[in-house]
Structures are given as C-alpha cells and as structure tokens.
C-alpha cells in the first residue's frame, strides 16, 4: 500500500498511465492518508498556474477566435440534418453493407410473398378438385354428319374451363380449321380452333373468362383461322 501512495503526486500531475490511474483510484478509495493529501496538493498544483504576468489580450483576437470556431463549425456540419445523422452513424462501408442487406431483405420479402400466393393458389386447387358441372353432346351435320363429340364444363376452384372432344371429323385442307363458338343470346364468342388428327379426332381446352356464360356450342369449318365471327358453314352443334 505504501507503494501506491507514492503515485499520489503523479496522479495529481496526470502522469500515470490509464492502467496505473485506475489502480490508484481504487487505492484512493481505501487510503485515508491519500484522501487527506489529495485536495490540498491538487490546490497547490493548480495554484502554480497563477505564476504569470497578467496581460490584456489584443482586441482583434476575439473575432479571430469566433471566426475560427464558427467557420470550422459550418464546414463540419452538413446543413441537411438527415445527412448529418447518416454521416455520423454510417461509414461508407457500413452504408454499402446496409444497402445490400436492405435490397436483399426486400428481395426475400417479395419472394416470400410471391411464394405465399402460389401456395395459397395450390392449396385452393387441392381443396377443390376439378369437377364436371355440365356435359354437352355434340352432333355433326352437313359434311360432318358422321362426326360426334362431347363437351365438358369443368370447374376448378373459381376457374371454369371447357373441354371439347371430337371424333370422326372429316379431314380438312391446309388453311381450314374447325372453330368453336359459344352462343349466348344469339352472340357468338370465339372459343378456339381445332385441327383434327389423321383419324378425325380432336381435343380442345378453353379456359373460360370469368363471368362468361353460354347456352350452346357451335362448330364451323372456317377457310382460315382467327376469325372473330363465323364465315364458314356450321358443321356441329349441341343437341
């Protein structure tokens, strides 16, 4: 302990290392001798500062000092408080890393939401198996009098689709197609085209737009595809 007391004056003149200083502070708490001496010796050390000739500072000094401080101050602080906050808290490196993390996080979040939608859709499909809500018999006429077919209106969750299966269709020329029309109160809506195979069999699936309904199905032989209204002869229809 005696050894520690020797550091009192070094503590007062502030020439202890950080470690020694901490040690001495601990010692000070328990050493009555040092506690008694500290204050008066500290006063003595401070008193030395008055060993000087007191002179008046030049008048012009004040402006120089204030300019020094406030110009310095303006230089160092950006006007934008947000920028100040950011520059205070983020180095360029950490800002870069933060940006990458934010982008990455946003990406993951988007992916996650997307995945969630997909899963919900799949779950709906699984929860509601496809079922045939209506069946139509199709009978050929005119050149296709030997043809027949079946159309199924299929419901899967909220979606409706129409599957049309045709047999014994007469062969057609290069550009010609069979075109399916949905008839609703006299209006015809294109529902796709079919080219039957060599045996005269054809299949078409048509995904029905929401709110579309129909009463009958008609099939025409069109001279070319993609007509919005029938131009050729009707060759099949619902019975």
């Amino acid at each position: 302990m005696e050894n520690k007391c020797e550091n009192l004056s070094l503590y007062i003149i502030d020439q202890l290392s950080e470690h020694e200083k901490e040690q001495f502070k601990r010692h000070l708490k328990t050493c009555a001798h040092c506690q008694n001496e500290l204050e008066s010796l500290q006063d003595t050390w401070q008193t030395l500062s008055y060993d000087m000739e007191e002179v008046d500072a030049p008048e012009s000094l004040k402006m120089e000092v204030m300019d020094f401080i406030f110009k310095e101050d303006e230089k160092e602080s950006p006007h934008n408080p947000i920028k100040l906050f950011l520059t205070k808290h983020f180095s360029p490196l950490s800002a870069g890393i933060t940006a990458i993390l934010i982008i990455g996080f946003a990406g993951l979040l988007w992916y996650n939401l997307h995945l969630k939608d997909t899963i919900t859709a799949l779950e709906e499909q699984m929860a509601s198996p496809a079922q045939i809500v209506r069946t139509f018999n199709l009978k050929g006429q005119d050149i296709a009098s030997s043809a027949n077919g079946t159309a199924y209106l299929l419901q899967e969750g909220h979606d409706n689709s129409l599957i049309i299966e045709l047999n014994n269709m007469p062969g057609i020329k290069d550009d010609e197609v069979y075109q399916v029309w949905l008839l609703n109160n006299g209006n015809r809506q294109n529902a796709g085209t079919i080219k039957p195979d060599q045996n005269g069999n054809g299949l078409i699936t048509y995904r029905m737009p929401k709110d579309q309904s129909f009463d009958d199905i008609g099939i025409t032989l069109e001279p070319n595809p993609n007509n919005t209204q029938p131009k050729g002869r009707k060759v099949m229809g619902t019975t």
Partner: protein, 194 residues
Amino acid sequence: MKNKSDEELVKLIVQNHRPALEELYDRYINLIYSFSLKMTKGDTEKTKEIVQLVFLRLWTTKRTYSASQGKFANWILTITRNIAIDLIRKEHKHKGTVQLDHDEWEKIQGQQSENVLQEVSSNLLKQQIQEAKHQLSEPQKRLINLLYWEGYSLSEIAKLEEKPLGTIKSRLNQTLKKLRNYFSEETGGVRHGK
C-alpha cells in the same frame, strides 16, 4: 448573459448558444491569454492558436462544468494547459518517451469549490507564489518549471537531470508538499485534509 453564472453559461454553450460562449470569452480571455503566453514563452502566434483551440473545445464539448468541480478559472486553465502542452510537446524533439495522457476532465473532478484562491486577487496570489518559490531549492524550481510550464514528463526530466526516475518522483513529492505548506501558512486557507 452578464448576470449568468459560469456554470449556467457552460450549460448554454452545450445547447449551442453562441452569446454564452462570447460572454465566457470576455470573462476569461485575459487569464487564458496570459497563461498561454507564458506557456509559449511569449510566442503570440502559438498563443493565438492555443486560445482558439481552448474555445473550440469549449464549444464542441458536450460535458458540462459544474461548480462542484472547483473554480471555473482552474477548470479552464487545466484545459488550456493540456492543449498548450500537446502543442509544445509536438515541438519537442525526443518524442519517443512522450506519454500523451491528458485527461483534464477526470483529473479536475473531486476538486473542492471552497478554495481559498477565490478570495485572493491574482496579483496577491502571484506574489505569494513568488515568495513560495524562494523557499525552493534550485533543482526543485527547475523541476516545477520543466514539469508545469514546459510540459516535460517525469521520465524526460529524469534524463535531462541525469537522475533516476525515483529521485525525480520524490523530488516532486517534496516540492509539492513544501509549496503546500508555505501556502497554508501564508493564507491559513489551503487545508490539510478534511
């Protein structure tokens, strides 16, 4: 501003109140200037630099002074001395042994406000110091001068004096006690203990 205490002014400065800084400047500039002029041995350019840094530190610091930490003049002079020593030591050639450790904020904590120095004018004080210094031996005077005013560390002084560090440490102890005892006899004010 005029009737605010030093403590109140420092609090205002922490809140970026410029007039408070100017008021403190007016109150203490002569003290700080004179002190710095002595530290720099009369170099007015370096003195200006020190004064600027002292007030810049006052302006930018976010730690407040309170009267319980001792006399404001002592507080500001401790800051001034540390800034001056940093500057002086940069000019010392033998930097190898220099230990820059000036934690003035911590050091001045625990100082008492009941300081007899508050009651005596600085001229009287100066006279007393002069008289006290007469009581010191030549090596003791040199020690105080190198240590207090020139900013040398004890180990540097040991080298300059060609004496073991232990000798210089005990010389410091003796010198401080001698001065303390002289001050206390003269004023009956610098107290022993509590």
